[in-house]
Amino acid sequence: MSTTHDFQLHRDAFGKLIFTGSDGEAHEALPVRAFPIGAPDKGIALVDPHGHELAWIDALADLDAERRQLVESELASREFMPVIERIIEVSSYATPSTWTIVTNRGETKLILKGEEDIRRLAAQALLIADSNGIQYLIRDRGALDAHSRKILDRFL
């Protein structure tokens, strides 16, 4: 795909991101990360509401500041993957278990339905899906405090 990015972006009064391509046609656009976990800043597609690809951005850095800000703000408003910083307590070591956790987005509770909802990512990273399907990320379980690590260890 081209890296010139000859398209225009702006936000309309309805809060939607509007894409205007080189052909002058305007579409509502949504940015989607191709590798949200593996390489979040590489490979971002702009798709229309029907899921058709409008443009492909190899890396966010390729965009000029204005468009990048628009894409980033739109992504930020849609992305929700709290990073677990601390596990305060768990209701039981048997699942389903309710965890009280501190994330980068504040303190909350999650319900873990089964150990298989904890997905091992590369190296020390874990992805935990709660009963509502929200994905919680642990970037490096070695970096958690001892108490959290001990709790987590019981589920791995």
Partner: protein, 774 residues
Amino acid sequence: MTQSPATPPALQPILPTSSQIPLPEAWQPVVEAQLVKEEKVLAWLEIDLNTSLHFGKGLIVLTDRRLLARTGDTPEWQSQPLREGLRLTRRDHAGVGSLELFDATGRLAHWRYTLGQDVAAGRLIDHVNRQLDFVVTGVAPTPPAQAVCPKCETPLLAGQDECPVCSKEELTPPSTWTLFRLWRFARPYRWQLLAGFLLSLATTAATLVPPYMTMPLMDKVLIPYQNGKPIDTGLVTLYLSGLLGAALLAWVLGWARTYILALVSERIGRDLRTTTYEHLLKLSQEYFGGKRTGDLMARIGSETDRINIFISLHFLDFATDVLMISMTTLILVSINPWLALVTLLPLPIIAFLIHTVRERLRTGFEKVDRIWAEVTNVLADTIPGIRVVKAFAQESREAARFRAANQHNLEVNDKVNKVWSLFGPTVTLLTEVGLLIIWGFGIWQISRNDISVGVLTAFLAYIGRFYTRLDSMSRIVSVTQKAAAGAKRIFDILDHVSSVPEPATPVHLPAVAGRIELRNVGFRYGTRSVTRDISLTIEPGEMVGLVGHSGSGKSTMVNLICRFYDVSEGAILIDGVDIRSVPVAEYRKNIGLVLQEPFLFFGTIAENIAYGKPDATREEIVAAARAAHAHEFILRLPHGYDSLVGERGQALSGGERQRISIARALLIDPKILILDEATSSVDTTTEKEIQKALDNLVRGRTTIAIAHRLSTLREANRLVVLDRGSVVEVGNHEELMAQEGHYYRLYQAQARNVDTEGGSDLEAGGEDDKGDRE
């Protein structure tokens, strides 16, 4: 967004449509402070995210005149008076729902929540729309006629007291006293277990006799002999025959005990396995989708075995040990209290040791189990996919994966063994130290003439056995932990309530006509909203084709109609009865399903055809096979209807397998027939033959067919076009073509495809879609 209090609209009456759910107590004073005189709260939604997606409680309140909202970040309230043009919508993405408020000029506000509140958000929108309608038109909306759940306002079904949505989300963890729950399986054998226990007790008592006899042997025979008296032969014979008798008794009792307990153990194991498997089969497809085969196999296989050995052997051994220790203590105290006290001194230390090691071992063993399942999973993944592995020459990669899982297993085991291996020797060391103390204290007491040599000998003999029992008791720690870990994993299955529950008060359908009605059906899989607000009525005998891109929700709709999953919102009715109030098996008897990839079980062709009706006569089987155009090719096989198929069986082509599965569906004579891409995995010539078979099948039945090749749906009375989870068009081929909408575009796309591929007709198109099963 306006911050001033709303100007009340001209119309003031309060509607009977308000939500029955009172505000949470914490919010009540805060909300009341916001309300103006006579303003009434109609509905509310507590949101748990703020606009920048941080966790924080907020509230959206609908009153009779405006919409009030507060997010977690500010204590200020936003207010929007209800007026014409206002629109509240919701959408969700990656586990987060958004509520957005628009008017004609743009977006006024948006709120975020996690999907747990999605249903409640839907209700809020309903309330807002009703109230908006009322404010704008002044016409009172009709209140919902159906009974609703007081907690979430989901419509309740006839004969249903508990809300299926609310009860489904109850997620209580199983108790830590998991092992006691095994009593349910031990109960039928309680008399045998009691007999085993009494026998153990008697065996133990018999083994306690010999050390007691060493006392008179020493004091009355050996010591007097050393002091010059002759040996009393009669006394010696008496004591020795006593020893022999005790040993023989212990032998007989021990044999009886072991035999009885082995019998019971096997029976408990059998019951546990069967119950778990039967429960597993009843669970919905959702459960199987999330579990790995290897893991489930390990649970039903090895875990149950471990548990039954625990119940019947280790647990009883432990109880006997405790009794033996109490009995020994009694005997020792009766002989000499002081020596007994010293003898028992190391006991608390050992008990403490056992306790400290317990925790570490238990977590360790739980880990070992999980890792073991991991190892099995690698096998279960690779062996069925062996063709792919070989085709891409990835044997070494798969070997490495297995090696890594094994290595992981080894590391975890090494860690556990480090603790475990220290345990046994420590107990032995303590035994030796205990003996040393008795020797020292005993010699001192003998020197003071407090006790005789015989008493010390008896104590040493007892304590030898005593500590042996402690040693075996220490082993109970590991087996208990292993069994508890296993029991937990078994109860994980047994506690899992099917997400397709049997109705509490079932409604029986005597004869099914086959009228299917979908009412505002919505379904969510994880965070993804797959279908939304589908309403459709299919008349008896009608054939309906489902059309749409892959991912448009066709297969989901079929899964919902089959009740493999339950709807998240709305209801599906058969002949006017909600399918959730019909017993699952009874309902599915009315459905014939032909899938894209027919699954044949290992067995004869006749058995496979008769799978849904095992008591079918040979004539019925042949008639079904004839109607399915399978009769002739079956006769060409060397063993005809008795040919073995399935894994390890006769190789059949895709079209032949499909026709067997059609015969299978024909045999049960269902009122409703579902064809899920029944012809897409075969070539055009075979498809024509299958189509002939299908024509026989479809006759007189309500049929729902999914097909990528639109041409195969020409027979359909109506085509339902789905797009991104919603019905977008309904009509027959000609009508839909005339509309030039979604269907027209789909049809054109396939026709174009054929042109570019140089094919002659439509049937050849859509080949690229054949692997697609959504």
